[in-house]
Symmetry: C2
Subunit: 220 residues, 2 copies
DNA sequence: ACTTGTATGTTTGATTTCAAACAAATGGAG
DNA sequence: CTCCATTTGTTTGAAATCAAACATACAAGT
């Protein structure tokens, strides 16, 4: 397991823990590494799980398949990324996503339930790990919350204004850079890039904002 | 505080705890009750907080206001509901919502940070509370995750199929009831009720499903 | 300067959604 | 049963979005 310590060290799940603490705490969560060959399932929609996965090498795809067989790729997990943590943290929940090895990969499985119910005495690392779990979960909610706020809006214009407004608040400035190019922004807001470009042009003509590439300036 | 124990008992945050445990654990989180008159702010967007709120009486509105002054009501918290828990659980995060008293109300403020960093020794109730917090957060992610899956779809038809597909999996049956009427379903999926009704009719004509009121049957 | 690749902006017609009004069906209450 | 309120389905013209193609701008490398 030691050969992967550099991967674990960078994960928010283990942040604030020393290498020794990480190695020690891996027992608390019954960490076991598994190898998956390209195309095999790691989790399957409909399953339930007490374990979350952390990618040690290779990569995995988070996908959804509907009743009529349409497959949709939600995201790609690379080295250091993890998946399944909300399902593992909520006993009895059912996976509504599947995880498939995109390339041959090694996955570290961590038993979240054991983290929560056993070792109740104050193993100090243990406490830190629980705190990190809470932080990871809370962070995900904040990100989702933001995204829902924007894509709930009916029109492209409203989605843009909602997103830009929130970025402006986040940067405490009317002038800021966004971490997306046009195509990525369109994907994030669930609209067409072309329609979005048209709307951005209109907003500029109307004097609500100025933009150049990924730099934006809002005019009130 | 005792007069509100019946409210606390029903909250998922305190589930599995006896009345005595609840009263005892309130100290761990520096529980203090505050009174707010109609229209005053409990949280304001841009603030950060270590505390979450739980409504003891009256009601509060979760709202968002954008840069150009448009106000949007996200949800209403009634007795027993709580708010702000992801912000309190993620130190340094900034509120992107405001909370306003809709009527005169009493709010119990719970310091989540204290729950995570102090009393590290195994006060048994304390552990349960942390576990409940993890569970509450994980549950919220699962709900958000679902919602994003559906409303990310571009067309009304795709949103419907995505939602119905997931409900079918959840009920392990092609035949099931949904917890929404048409207007609520349209709001949930962020589309027009009328356009949705049209699409449902088409889907039925095409033989993909049958529906009567809130009962649905999918045909494969 | 030239070429190449990529990002961004614009245009087009077809399709979908919106918004508003109205019609039909349903479920209670009297 | 009849009346009434509510829910659901349908229609309509206006507006927005989609999808695809093309035009323009910019950057990196030769």
């Amino acid at each position: 397991m030691k050969k992967y310590i550099s991967v674990l060290r960078t994960s928010p799940f283990f942040s604030g823990l020393t290498d020794e603490e990480i190695l020690s705490v891996l027992h608390c969560v019954s960490a076991t590494s598994i190898v998956k060959t390209e195309g095999t399932y790691i989790f399957r929609a409909g399953d339930s799980t007490e374990e979350m996965g952390l990618v040690l090498s290779g990569s995995a795809l988070i996908i959804q398949e509907d009743l009529w067989g349409h497959r949709n790729i939600l995201s790609r997990c690379k080295t250091g990324d993890f998946f399944g943590e909300p399902y593992a943290a909520k006993p009895g929940s059912v996976l509504n996503i599947s995880v498939v090895a995109e390339k041959d990969c090694e996955i570290l499985m961590l038993n979240v339930k054991r983290l929560l119910v056993t070792c109740p005495t104050a193993c100090d690392h243990h406490q830190k790990l629980v705190r990190n779990l809470v932080s990871v979960l809370a962070n995900k909610i904040l990100i989702f919350n933001d995204k829902i706020t924007h894509i709930s809006k009916r029109t492209t214009r409203e989605k843009l204004l909602s997103y830009l407004s929130s970025e402006s608040i986040k940067h405490s400035s009317l002038s800021f850079d966004i971490p997306f190019d046009r195509q990525q922004l369109a994907d994030f807001l669930c609209v067409e890039r072309a329609a979005m470009s048209v709307e951005l042009s209109k907003l500029q003509k109307e004097g609500l904002l100025k933009t150049n590439r990924n730099h934006f300036e809002l005019l009130t």
